[in-house]
Amino acid sequence: MAVDVVMPQMGESIFEGTITKWLKKPGDKIERDEPLFEISTDKVDAEIPSPAAGVLKEVKVNEGQTVPVQTVVATIEAGGAAAQTAPSPAKQAPAPVPAQAKAEPPPSSASAPAARMPSPPPGAAAEQAHARAASGEKIRSSPLVRRIAREHNIDLAQVPGTGAGGRVSKRDILEAVEGTTARPTQTPAPPVGGAIPFRAPTGPSPLPPGGAAQSTAAFETAVPREKLYFGHYEVQPMSVMRQKIAEHMVLSKRVSPHVYSVDEVDLTGIAALRAKTKEKFEQAAGTKLTFMPFFVRAAVEALRAFPTVNASVDGTNVVLHKEANIGIAVALDWGLIVPVIKNAEEKNFLGTARAINDLAERARAKKLKPEEVAESTFSITNPGVFGGLFGLPIINQPNVAILGLGTIEKRPVVIDDAIAIRSMVYLTLSYDHRVVDGATAHQFMGRLKHSLENWSESIL
């Protein structure tokens, strides 16, 4: 029997995904849970395992194509004992059921498109739409869309809306009608007049297509677009991830008033400890020993002491998070991602180190799960690993602070009126001055510094 393979929902506010690579071709045998294709979405790139065992029958969406969540991208001819009734797409989709069960999605993070109105996730659209229809609320759509739906007996509630504000757009309904992007049959166009058309004046050199898809602040240009194109140039359209990063950065800066606090920390002790126990640690733990777990542990302690720094802002409410979910920024060849160590306050040094390495590895291998890139409460970034004394990072919304690590290097410092050579590092705390005042920030940093300079926890 034929089993549908669908585009999974990789996060609450993700509406679509791009197929980046098919790992099997029609006719190939495939096992249950065997990686079948790779996708790229707003939040995360991932490998998608097959929902059934059998033979890949038909590929409906090709590499490079972007389709809305729940679109059938392929079919498998399931057969043999291994075949089971096709699990429901919802189960296969990594989107956790709790997300659907939530009555209301949380206010959209700044990385969602259409900044103006919070958009309900289309994966939950069916349920939400039913609820809406039951309550009599109109499904957002234009007269044209409603007519097409009526003419083809399509329940608008079943059609995912990708238009502005989550409305069902013309493209959505047409795809629902035909599954393609064909246009409705055109009424004959008005006759082109016998008049010789006016010759438009020659304008500036042609511009490549702009990012017309999303209407967010990230895509404003500060100068007229024509002025960007001069001399020789190559135009590189942004990947979805890059677009999301761009959006997030602009919005973060716009929403949070950033203030920076820089401190210098003496890591000589930690450096010595690390040097001494590195081999033993890696043998025993099975994972590398970097500086990062030290920072994370110290940060967790400091956050415990200064809960305001472990918070989010909702209008006039400060949401103090009880868990410390530490996001660690990971540089990728193709961009940047921030996997999150959940409940870092419950982990010891070893657990923290393991978590960090595991997340980083899987980030680079595109094997992160969506929940592993969400729900951070504080973030750490390490620009210093690429050089530079210190950075002034942008807060990872909806956190209210981010810690930036500079280069760890040996520098001459004054101790007790003598010059000593120590392993020093500049730490920057970028904080949101809506809720974190200078006093708190500096105290937080002081605490951090103290922890790092007086390392007491056993690392083995």
């Binding site: 234009s142 007269p143 044209l144 869309v145 409603r146 007519r147 238009g163 502005a164 757009s169 013309k170 246009r183 055109q186 009424t187 004959p188 166009a189 008005p190 006759p191 082109v192 007049g193 016998g194 008049a195 010789i196 058309p197 006016f198 438009a200 004046p201 304008g203 042609p206 511009l207 297509p209 702009g210 017309a212 209407s215």
Partner: protein
């Protein structure tokens, strides 16, 4: 085929019609010996004589009234308003005598009232008017507003041959700025028919007169951004070409209306109502409009520039509409 300006197209139409039919006469201020303030009627007097090319006193009411009386005897007068702004002086004659004559007592008034209109020439509030809507609002009149040399010539001929009073607006900014090759020989352009200047699929821009050119300019820019705009030139404002408007809207499903006339009471509102009545279920977005400000036409260039619609404003509106 010769390349001519819009002004020359109008003059040629007058010449050819007066040649063809001795019932066609012209009257207005300074149109004879002087050839008209814009030289539209230059050469007419020399060819057709003072019985047919009449220099009148400064009396818009008398000019239009006399033209009306002439048309009752079967002549086809072409009366000029030196600037169309001055049609306000004879508003009564136009709206009460000309417009109502056939409806009331079956007496057709086959005259043409023509004159230079529109802004962008630093004319100030009394030499830049776009008063077309006062007359679009008056049943019994026809209102024509071409945007090309070909159309100007063909439409003026149609207007002269029409049995009804036709107001023929000539955008003075376009008079000498646009040139076009036109065919030799007699041809007319039908009154009451719009034309598509640029085929498109994403949205329809409806416009007329100088704003039609601005709309085309904007459409080129939009094309480079991946937005495929259809541009329609109305050419006639009364009677409005409902069929073409609705057909284009059914094709693109989005509508932007651009006119140099002031916003309130401009034809954009009328078109929006027609579309809502005739094609509501084909609308995929709100009907937007780019118009002049609701003010008199200001004089100083930065003020006039702000007043008038331009390609930038059209592009911005079209982008917003395309994204909806």
């Amino acid at each position: 085929m010769a390349e001519i300006t819009m002004l020359e197209g109008i003059r040629q139409a007058l010449f050819e019609e007066m040649d063809r039919d001795p019932a066609v006469v012209a009257l207005g201020e300074d149109i004879g010996v002087f050839g008209g303030a814009f030289k539209v009627t230059e050469g007419l007097l020399a060819r057709f004589g003072p019985e047919r090319v009449i220099d009148t006193p400064i009396s818009e009411t008398a000019i239009v009234g006399a033209a009306c009386g002439m048309s009752y005897l079967g002549l086809r007068p072409v009366a000029e308003m030196q600037f169309i702004d001055f049609i306000a002086c004879c508003f009564n004659q136009v709206t009460n005598f000309l417009a109502k004559s056939h409806y009331r007592w079956g007496a057709p008034v086959p005259l043409v009232l023509r004159g230079p209109s529109g802004g962008s020439v630093h004319g100030g509030p009394f030499h830049s008017a776009n008063p077309e809507m006062y007359f679009v609002h008056t049943p019994g009149l026809k209102v024509v507003y071409p945007s090309t040399a070909y159309d100007a010539k063909g439409l003026l001929k149609s207007a002269i041959r029409d049995n009804n009073p036709v107001l023929f607006f000539e955008h003075k900014f376009l008079y000498r700025r646009i040139k076009e090759e036109i065919p030799s020989g007699d041809y007319t352009v039908p009154i009451g028919k719009a034309v598509i200047r640029r085929q498109g699929n994403d949205l329809t821009i409806i416009s007329y007169a100088a704003a039609a050119h601005t709309s085309l300019e904007a459409a080129e820019q939009l094309g480079r951004e991946g937005i495929d705009a259809e541009v329609m030139d109305l050419r006639t404002l009364l009677p409005l070409d409902r069929e073409s408007i609705l057909a284009s809207l059914k094709k693109t499903n989005k509508l932007l209306i651009v006119h140099e006339d002031t916003r309130t009471g401009g034809i954009a509102g009328e078109i929006a109502a027609i579309v809502c009545e005739g094609a509501f279920e084909d609308l995929d977005g709100p009907i937007l409009r780019v118009t002049a400000l609701d003010t008199p036409v200001p004089y100083s260039p930065p003020l006039e520039h702000r007043f008038l619609p331009n390609a930038e404003k059209i592009v911005a509106a079209a982008r917003a509409l395309a994204k909806y």
